[in-house]
């Protein structure tokens, strides 16, 4: 079934099975909970900042394959990025999973997050995909006067 393959891409299945950075970060500067009461997905995300850079992102918790793989991929993508760059990536990811991405048709340059484009065909799963991203975006924006809107 084409749709299912688009959703459960190899990268997503892999990150679900072997989540990266799946641990507590003892020296985290930001610790934030991500919880979806509807399905019970629940993660804790840890962020260590180094000035205006994201030095490290880790997470713990449980949830569906989409939410877990998404948190895992995010942790690998954001590590080492400046907060400003991270904000741009959040934006692209949001657009991607909502099917609103207006960039090039070729998603290859987006790297691993391109695997989540298939989520846009499953409206009930968009929330799963953005759960961890939303939490981390809130966490790193906390000392700016940024308002994050859904």
């Amino acid at each position: 079934m084409a749709d299912l393959q688009a959703l459960y891409q190899e990268i997503i299945l892999d990150h679900n099975k072997n989540p990266r950075n799946f641990r507590v970060l003892p020296d985290a500067d930001r610790v934030v909970d991500a919880y979806n009461p509807l399905c019970g997905d629940h993660y804790t995300l840890y962020v260590r900042l180094d000035g205006d850079r994201i030095a490290d992102v880790t997470f713990q918790g449980s949830g569906c394959a989409i939410s877990k793989a998404s948190a895992s991929v995010m942790s690998t993508v954001l590590k080492g990025k400046s907060i400003a760059d991270a904000q741009k990536i959040f934006e692209v990811f949001h657009q991607l999973v909502r099917g609103e991405f207006k960039g090039e048709r070729d998603l290859e340059h987006l790297g691993k997050i391109a695997a989540f484009a298939g989520v846009s065909e499953f409206p009930t799963r968009v929330k799963c995909a953005i759960l961890a991203w939303h939490a981390v975006r809130g966490a790193v924006s906390a000392n700016e006067q940024t308002v994050t809107t859904e």
């Binding site: 299912l4 459960y8 299945l13 019970g40 569906c64 989409i66 799963r125």
Partner: protein, 420 residues
Amino acid sequence: MSISPDANKPASDQALFDVERIRRDFPLLTATVHGRPLVYFDNAATSQKPSVVIEAERHYYQTENANVHRGVHALSERATAEYEEVRRLVARFLNAESEREIIFVRGATEAINLVASSFGRMAVKAGDEILVTAMEHHSNIVPWQLLCGEKGATLRVVPMNDAGEVLLDEYERLLTPKTRLVALAHVSNALGTVNPVRRMIEAAHRSGIPVLLDGAQAVPHLRVDVRELDCDFYVLSSHKLFGPTGVGVLYGRERLLDAMPPYQGGGDMIRSVTFEKTTFNELPYKFEAGTPNIAGTIAFGEAIRYVSALPWPAVMAHEDALLREATIALGTINGTRIIGTAAEKVGVLSFLMDGIHPHDIGTILDQYGVAVRTGHHCAQPVMDRYGIPATARASFAFYNTREEISVFADALKRVKEVFG
């Protein structure tokens, strides 16, 4: 039911109960989803509606629409007569003593809130206790928590065993002179357990404690007789009983309803109003403020007629066979686990698959046309009891078939393939 592998039994029942003919009464059962025939296994969330129900609602708006209890003109009289006829139907359906004991509300949730608010105001004070079980739907927990918070009363919970059966010894121990009301599910929506309500009611009544039964999940599967059960309140939702949404029933023992203060104030529930003093209408109108869901109630009457005309012993045998077959099918798939294995249960199958989140199971089943519910089923304390965040739940109605169980089982095998 007891789960034993004699799945070939009900040949004689099939003669009585022609499921293919029944299915033709439910237009949505012929739908396709993602290009596959719909397999609707989310009946505990809401049931599908037979054509007679859909048609009744249309017919009412097209030919009869008028308000009830407030006009002398022909249409209003007709609407009132039909609306009140449904009350008599429901009274007979539940074997209530009188139609004064049948209050129309929005659903099971509102019925419970009505009792919590009105009975609670009358009978519950600081230090009192309300008793529920560990398997309640949120709608039979939160209204009591709100009441307890307001009154300084305490909510007590009867524990259950791993199979999902209440511990009767614990139950009897928790019935104390402080207990003002027992409120429990007749059938659990998350586990399918049929509670031993007769026994539990008897025990409560020995101490003079009234009992509310949440029958939302019972009436689609069992015949209910409120006088035989001897319960004091019984609540149900039309939409789970093949009727429209937005209609529900509170049955209450007349003596109690009579003593209880009104729930909401407004039109219909009054006898006379001055700015100094209002006198309230008699039962059941005392509890029905404002214009009700007239069309929905009249259509609900058709659902009651439909359900009442079914050959019930055969219906129950058919549903038992579905549950037995689904249970066996699930057992043949490695790494699955059923949550809720009570000796007495109806067609509700909550389950887990090793390493695969219920949400992913639900999405993949949907691609094969199979509609199940995933999540906590508005029963988070049940999930906590088992230490799990969620389950996938297949829930059956009499219009489901053994072929659909095969489609479901095949789709579950696909779930395993996707996740390797």
